[in-house]
Amino acid sequence: MMAVSWADRISVLRHSPTRFLSGTTAECFLAELLRELRDDRASYSVKVLLVSPLCEYPTLLCPSDSVGEETALELMSVFAQCPPKSVQFRCHLLLALTSVLVCTSCVSSHSRVSQDFLELLLQIAQDSSDLQGDAAIRSFRATACDCLRELEACSPGLLFQRLEVLGGLRQQETSQLHQSFAGLHTLVLRNAVYQLTQEAGAGAEHLKALLGGNTSLSWDAEQDSDLMKNKDSAALSSLILGPMGTVPTLQTGPDCKELRSVLSSLLEESYLLTPLCQAALLHRLTEVVAMVPGVPPAVFRAQLLRLLGTSEVCLLHTTLLMKCAFTDSLFSAEDEAFILKRLVVLSQHPLLSTPEKLFYMACILHFPENRPISCGDGDETPPVLLTPRLASALVPTVFNDSATMLARLNLLSLVYLEEEGEGEEGRGLAYLYEHLTSLLDIVENGGSREIDVTFFRAAFLFLFYFCHVEHYSNSLMEKLCKLYLCHTRLAPRLINLADQTQDKLTESSWAVRLLRALQGVITEAPLAQLTLQDLSWHLKMLARMAEEGEITQHRTLSFLSMVIMPSSSSLCVSGDWRLGNSLLRVCRRLLVHPSLDSLLIPLADILQHLTCRYGDTDIQDHARLYYTLLTTLSRDKLAGVLAQASSEGGRQVKKRLLSCIMAESEGLTGVLTIHQTEKAIFRLIEAHFEPREETQSDTGSDRNQNEMETCPGEANAALEAYRAQFDDPSFASEITLNYRLAHIQANDSCFDQLFSIHLHFSLTDDHYEELSDISVPCLFRARPSPEVRVRLKPRRPYPTTLRASAIFTTQDGLSWLTVLPDIHVAFQHTFRPLPAPPAWGRGDKLSLFEGLWDEISSESEKEPADCATSLFCCQLKEAALIALVEKHFLPYLLSDLSDREEFKVIFFLAPQSHMLLRIRSEEDAVHFNITTDNWQLLPHISSYLVTVTSSQENTLH
């Protein structure tokens, strides 16, 4: 039963941590997890499941380093008590420990528990008691090795001192475990050599000492000189980064016998590793040799033929990385030509998978040339050796899958682009164009959606490279127009193609020419065959064309008037709202077209016709609005109203305006959607704290009461009267925090004026009741910040953090969601003055103080008690003390300020806690005698007192 529920809970956590944490807190869940792990009755299969969240989400469950450390300690003790035979569980425990320690930075801070764990792992790895070759024990040791490798990978240099030990272990091991040691050893070696390169003056001697395990000789003083302290991530990064990457080097001179012998032994045995481990090992060793110029890259030569002939993608890839690192010091010009040919062959090899072939094509476009011409700025460039003839093995065909076809088209386009002007150019380009047209034929014959997408991507690629070859780009335009007439459903794709070519090929007018040609095609086609479906696509296209200032719109207008006239269609009678909307959208864009003057009359006719005849009232209304705007406003005003005066590069910029909500369905969704801001826009700033001014509807203020008012008698009576007030549960149960709402940065003008701000708060713990939302009418950058009063109702008056978010509207009518920086509520923010009855004077309050003091002091001696007394001392001169009282305690002070003998201070903490202070200057120090009816507040008050008193000391000394 329990097992099922754990499996379910963990699966929820793994799929959606936020959903999971909405039902519980990480703290609770972690505690439960650890309890269950210690439970002897739980089966090990369940326990394996239990540690998985710690492996996958360690930082979620252990939000701070200290929690991480405690969790790791718990896991270590679970490990210690776990019987050796449950190997699977012990392996998973090791993984969980590694994850927790690494991710909470216990490893990088050298915490005790991480040191212990490291020792444990080394011990397991070295445990040679499995002489029987027990596979289970071996896999346990392999896991320990991988944990060590990961620790070293995350904190390079961690095992610096163990290099020689690890090397020895690797050499002795004959079982499959040698692979784990080899991986670990190479990584530690690589990081150690890297570390030497970072140390000034390190050289051959140091390298020799390092490999001989003689670290004590030269690194006594550098016990913890590992690279973890190196805050940047350079040590984690690969050192082989292409022509622009620089590798740090270690000058050793030619004599590196020791390193060479280690390298050759590792390389000799590399054959015995799995391809994945071999690739990692070769890559690490490539880095080592690249860092030590004293070792010639030729050490790899014996492996090269085996690697170049391989069918394994990762092994061939390491060869390319070697080529990148060593260029002509390991690979001759013939080798280079051979490798490139090999890549071309592999890019189309019938036995390889598509992703592998695509990867090889990517390698061709970033081929590590011995003498690169370009500087390798990350752009795709075919190598010089890739001639059109060689590349012709990769011509795209209609039988290719979409990704392969596009990759090939891209590659060949690049090759032909390089060759332009030379004889071959024509044929290759002609082939590509022919290929594009065969794709177009397939689309025309009614291909699938995938083929449509592929064709338009291919068309974009072709235009991207060869738009300037007018012969082809014009011919493609004609074909696209024909295609559109057959398949009007392609309208959004054509619009997309026009948009993208316009954006990416700014010098070319191809997109505008295409749109103009399409306008011709649409307006000239016979109306008789027009279906409603076609018409709605046509209108979508015409609306796009109307955005182009350079395209004359007369044909569009005559088309519109034709389709709405009753003689030619029943459109107006049918009164379809969507269609009417599409018509209006075209009209609306025409209203802001630069050539509006010449369009005025026909456009007015159309609008008037729609106003009178269209079969949908909503459309009629809008048509009337546009008609009125058109006929009564001057051009400038019209542009102003429609707020589209600005245009960029001929194509007008879309803006959202309420006047267009209905005519622009995409605008409509924009307005109706709540957008999310990338950064916080505003925040709540603590306003000056003046508890005196606090509104206390239930108590009122008594500051001006006559001090000599009659005393209600003894302290007990005062206490009773005071307590009676709390019979009303809402009495003094809230605290009010004052904030101002203010902008954070001044750079985003679209957020200058915000309206209808709705603030929502959420709690991070359960010490307070849920907060209600707060509305703020507006926030302008230019005006003073509005005040915000947050009312908190404590369950327990502890410090807390509030999360806040807000929904607001900007001037352009869009709604936004933003997250505010967290609000920290400090302990002193929860203080309130004593909520004494309004009629009371100082004397009454003082007797209440005495009454409370005595009661609490006597209660605190009973066990168990909520009440407690405490003493806080500090060194303060008298003046400093008075300044302190004036600055921090005045609202809570009951005794007279002039009474220097003893200050009596009372903090009331909602809902019903009190903190009473008697402050006296004794001869050696100032004593703060504290009593409280809630002992759990003591740590908070003492840290508060430390803060205020030390700040007072600082200011007065």
Binding site: S16, Q176, G183, L276, H366
Partner: protein
């Protein structure tokens, strides 16, 4: 050289998409965060990843004809590494997401970028990418079996074993191996004595009679147009598969491939990683080079130490001068009838003894077949009117003349339209040939039983075989336009 997370999803047409397995590697994520610095993009929750991936693969919103995010012509799927555009608070681009799909499964992983994140490093500089591809391919084979045919129960049970499989092959996000197929073979016995280290890719030791099985399969593909203006194409590739049961920790075996005199050299040779050494001359011939006649033409020696399971020792391609079966296909439109004329000629160098041989003639974008009046000179004709498909089974042998013909007319007058295909419109049509010939290869390449050398104490039994298979063997109608 690690992956940050791994997902396995199943996606069936018309069926819902679900995440079947997911694993995040927290320590690798920790490194990713440090490496990327301010440009770090966290991995979103599984469902978000799933949605973004489907969008990127063009599989989201199957009912909507156009979705900009999915279909934008600017976005070229730079597969194998996809970009996931993460929205919301953790906005950014997750790259390089590797995804491979086969059948109902989509496997994907996010390799660690161990290079400065800005500007984006080329894919070719990240070893983690090729390692990720290897891991995914290995997992795919493990889950779907070598045939790639999934059965839902087998798949579910293999998915259930993934946590313990990953503990072996990728415990902390750094892939160490690909999962072994079948039972974790451990005829373990005592650990090997002596100083010879055991290969990590060999799970145990073989005991018993030594048997070496070498199978050579050649596959031929062809596109024949029967057209003066367009050259017919064909190519041949071969694979050598071995299963070696030989004693010893690291036994030596050598397999030699030989060609007949004047045989054209084997090209584009790829070898299994267990091959210990290669002669440089073996690798020189390449299909993208001009053949200059002086190239090395064998014998091709492959010394290796075999793993326990069957494996593909090597593969090659070869340029043979003629296709094994030369076909001609002619269609003529005659008043709602199609006149069909087919001739298939078996080349004289090919053994006239098939395991099977059949020609498929599909007709697309037409009404269903009505009257079929066809005569074949040999073999048997099956007509499937619903599929508009003719299957011409040629049996085991061509007649003595080595030539078969089909003549006649088909009318397409059926009541409902037949299948459609955007490629095969009007007279664009093809014949697809399926055949298999045992004990022969087109290149003439063979493995002689006596050339297999095994350096071990006991004399092994050696079995060799070879066969020729067709694949994508098309003969296009010469009167129509072929794509």
């Amino acid at each position: 050289m690690s992956v940050r997370a791994l997902w396995i999803m199943s996606h069936e047409k018309g069926d819902s998409v679900s995440i079947r397995f997911a694993r995040r590697f927290a320590t690798v994520e920790h490194r990713a965060k440090r490496l990327a610095g301010s440009s770090y993009v966290a991995v979103p929750e599984d469902n978000t990843v799933l949605q973004l991936l489907l969008t990127e693969l063009g599989l989201s919103d199957p009912d909507k004809p156009f979705v900009t995010l999915r279909d934008d012509c600017l976005h070229r799927q730079k597969s194998p590494a996809l970009e996931l555009r993460v929205d919301g608070p953790g906005k950014g681009v997750l790259w390089p997401m590797l995804a491979i799909s086969q059948g109902p499964l989509i496997l994907c992983c996010l390799p660690l970028v161990d290079a400065p994140a800005e500007p984006r490093p080329p894919l070719a500089s990240l070893l983690s990418v090729s390692q990720g591809l290897t891991l995914l391919a290995g997992l795919q084979t493990f889950l779907l079996g070598p045939g790639g045919k999934p059965d839902s129960e087998g798949l579910a049970s293999r998915l259930a074993t993934l946590p313990s499989v990953l503990l072996q092959v990728c415990p902390l996000g750094t892939p160490l191996d690909v999962p072994q197929l079948g039972a974790p073979a451990s005829p373990a016995g005592p650990a090997p004595a002596g100083s010879q280290k055991q290969p990590a890719w060999k799970t145990g030791l073989h005991r018993g009679r030594a048997v070496v099985n070498v199978a050579l399969t050649e596959t031929v593909r062809s596109m024949q147009y029967g057209n003066q203006s367009r050259q017919d194409l064909w190519d041949v590739y071969g694979t050598v598969t071995c299963k070696c049961e030989v004693e010893g920790v690291l036994p030596n075996v050598t397999v030699t491939l030989t060609l007949p005199p004047n045989g054209s050299p084997l090209q584009d040779i790829l070898v299994h990683p267990c091959v210990t050494s290669l002669d440089s001359s073996i690798l020189t011939a390449s299909s993208v080079d001009d053949y200059d006649g002086s190239a090395f033409s064998g014998p091709y020696k492959f010394p290796f130490s075999p793993p326990l399971e069957p494996f593909r020792l090597c593969s090659y391609t070869s340029q043979v001068p003629v296709p094994p079966i030369l076909g001609s296909y002619q269609l003529k439109d005659e008043e709602n009838q199609l006149r069909v004329s087919v001739t298939l000629k078996l080349h004289e160098s090919v053994k006239n003894s098939f395991e099977y041989c059949a020609a498929h003639l599909p007709f697309f974008n037409r009404d269903q077949m009505g009257i079929v009046d066809l005569k074949v000179s040999s073999g048997q004709l099956d007509i499937s009117k619903e599929k508009n498909l003719l299957v011409w089974s040629l049996g085991q042998k061509f007649p003595k003349s080595r030539e078969v013909t089909m003549e006649g007319r088909i009318s397409f007058s059926g009541p409902s339209p037949g299948p459609s295909d955007p490629l095969c419109t009007e007279l664009t049509a093809y014949i697809k040939l399926y055949f298999k010939v045992l004990d022969m290869t087109l290149s003439g390449c063979c493995v002689d039983q006596h050339s297999v050398q095994v350096y071990s104490s006991a004399k092994p039994r050696i079995v060799t075989s070879r066969e020729l298979l067709s694949k994508e063997y098309f003969i296009w109608n010469s009167t129509g336009t072929a794509p």
